[in-house]
């Protein structure tokens, strides 16, 4: 019997559309991939979580027993009772300031030249590639550079200034790269607008391009500062103190005299000692460095959100 009345064909067509749009079984592969991705995220978060919990737990006795005294005492890897982190905090802050003063202006200036002035020349292209390569050079190499050039050749001495210069050299490529990317993200239309009313190139860069790129540049530079704060190898090579460094009435400027240290080196010194007490102290010092670095990162995020602009 021929059942091909218009109504039935219409019904069949509708059914085939319904069939076509209905899910065919479950998407196993998709679910599997999603599962893998979630696991990866969970593992990452777990590592961070365990790290922080472990540090807090292990360092707990130090905070309850000594608290502020631990923060204000100097480096002393001989006596657990008087070991502290103040000289390390002081050194890390000083190093950070030196990096701010030297690496940031230099790096941002390089980026402005490469992005705004250099154009498409072979020289500019070569430089950009090499800056990327420099960012991948291991930090110990920058330590050797610091020792060879800043300490010996230039005769600065084994002090906080030489260490700060070595760290500046270390983060310089990172600053150049992040600042370049921030500058490149500024729309051409803004440059054209400024040039169109008769601004010179420098007036355009100063009044419009740099302010528009500032959030990105700031974020990149603060993150590179956090990287510098965590490096031990270069400053160890330059000569940071590892054994004993009392603070007493030593001021920030006394670090130029030669005796200085920084948080990663302090942690390194305490970690080499034996005994349960030093393990607690090591954990406490690590927590201090972690808080310092997290504070810098938070500051970077805050800066970016505060100055983020739309165009």
């Amino acid at each position: 019997m021929a059942l091909t009345t218009p109504a039935s064909t219409g019904g069949r067509a509708a059914r085939s559309i319904t069939d076509g749009l209905t899910k065919r079984g479950s998407d196993l592969r998709g679910k599997l991939i999603e599962g893998v991705l979630v696991t990866a995220l969970a593992a990452t978060l777990l590592i961070l979580f365990v790290l922080i919990v472990d540090l807090v737990q292990r360092s707990w006795p130090v905070w309850t027993d000594r608290g502020g005294d631990f923060l204000s005492s100097g480096l002393n890897s001989a006596s657990a009772a008087s070991a502290g982190v103040w000289s390390g905090i002081k050194g890390t802050i000083t190093l950070g300031l030196i990096v701010c003063v030297i690496a940031f202006p230099l790096g941002i200036a390089c980026a402005v030249y490469l992005e705004e002035y250099a154009g498409r020349t072979r020289f500019a292209r070569l430089t950009r590639i090499n800056v990327r390569n420099l960012a991948g050079v291991p930090s110990i190499v920058y330590g050797l550079l610091g020792l060879g050039i800043f300490v010996n050749t230039l005769g600065i001495g084994r002090n906080v200034l030489a260490a700060g210069l070595a760290l500046s050299a270390l983060v310089l490529p990172i600053v150049v790269i992040t600042a370049s990317e921030a500058l490149r993200a500024v729309p051409v239309a803004i440059r054209e607008g400024a040039l169109g009313v008769g601004a010179t190139q420098w007036e355009t860069v100063r009044s419009h391009v740099l302010p528009a790129a500032a959030p990105g540049i700031l974020t990149g530079t603060v993150l590179s500062l956090a990287r510098a704060a965590g490096e031990a190898a270069p400053i160890l090579l330059v000569g940071a103190a590892t054994g004993l460094l009392r603070t007493g009435d030593q001021g920030f400027l006394d670090q130029l005299g030669g005796a200085f240290t920084a948080m990663p080196v302090v942690i390194f010194s305490y970690a080499r000692q034996t005994g349960e007490q030093f393990r607690e102290i090591t954990a406490a010092a690590s927590l201090v460095l972690l808080v310092l670095v997290l504070a810098m990162n938070t500051f970077a995020i805050w800066l970016r959100n505060r100055y983020d602009r739309k165009w």
């Binding site: 803004i190 040039l195 009313v197 008769g198 007036e203 602009r309």
Partner: protein, 287 residues
């Protein structure tokens, strides 16, 4: 009589002679281009452009995409300088001075010849600072003087009433049409002689477009305006003269190059053009 190119002859000769059609009394020529060609690296984007732009007229550049009309426009304020590999041959003169002469400073050129871009591009700053930027470059520092320029420019761009209460607010908060009028005001604030407009209404709705068009009619007594537009009705509505560009295959390189086909009073272009290609384009049969 305005004689225009023979379509087959190679160089497009344009001698805009007497007062033709509705074009106004002859002002002096602001720009004259002779055998202008623009290259992007080895690619010749546009060639053999010979144009005389009259003072206090609105000149429209029309033509299909890729015909080089924006490229030619950007020669008049040397904006092509910003594009790596861009190079100009032939001459573009401004009141008789070769704009590409060795002693000419592009910055000085752009102070006299303003530009309004396709996409409104206010600076991400306050409305006031958008307008004050140009005058400040010219050394105007007194607040009273700047205030006056800001107000006058906004009045001229028919934006004052809408923004007078929020001059310190960000320009990014304005609507697209307001932003474009702000860009025109910003351009006017440096008192240029010429305003170049590169498809100024292509990102705007019809109401905002008609406001910009009215504005152009109002300010043309003080300025010479060249507008690039994709919209033929717009060219017909606003302009005194129209230049029609098209692309053709360059026999030397086998690539498409932009060329000026016809340059005449707008009424003639749209009613009785000299060139067949112009007629095809304006009647919608091509392009």
């Amino acid at each position: 009589m305005s004689s225009v190119s023979d379509t087959s002859a190679a160089p497009v000769e344009i001698a805009v002679a007497e007062n033709a059609g509705q074009a106004q009394a002859n002002g002096p020529n602001v720009f004259e281009t002779r055998d202008l060609a623009v290259f992007y690296d080895d690619f010749r984007a546009v060639r053999e452009v010979n144009l005389d732009i009259r003072q206090h007229e609105i000149t429209a550049f029309i033509g299909p995409s890729g015909c080089g009309k924006s490229t030619v426009l950007r020669c008049f304020d040397r904006m092509n300088d910003l594009i790596d590999g861009a190079r100009v041959e032939g001459t573009v003169s401004y009141h008789g001075v070769d704009l590409y002469g060795p002693d000419v400073d592009a910055v000085e050129v752009r102070r006299r010849i303003g530009m309004v871009f396709q996409k409104p591009n206010p600076f991400p700053k306050s409305i006031y600072d958008n307008l004050a930027f140009g005058p400040r470059l010219n050394g105007i520092k007194k607040k009273a003087q700047l205030d006056e320029i800001v107000e006058q420019s906004l009045h001229r761009a028919a934006l004052w009433d809408e923004v007078k209460s929020r001059l310190k607010a960000s320009a990014m908060g304005l609507s697209g049409g307001q932003q474009q009028r702000l860009c025109i005001a910003r351009c006017i604030a440096v008192k240029p002689e010429v305003i170049l407009m590169d498809e100024p209404c292509s990102a705007l709705d019809p109401i905002a477009t008609s406001r910009i068009e009215e504005l152009m009619q109002e300010i043309k007594t003080d300025y010479t305006i060249i507008i690039v537009t994709h919209n033929m009705q717009q060219a017909a509505r606003v302009s005194d003269r129209t230049a029609f560009f098209t692309t053709e295959v360059n026999p030397e390189s086998d690539r498409r190059t932009g060329r000026l086909v016809e340059y005449n009073p707008t009424s003639k272009i749209f009613s009785n053009p000299d060139d067949e290609r112009t007629e095809q384009y304006v009647t919608g049969r091509f392009g």
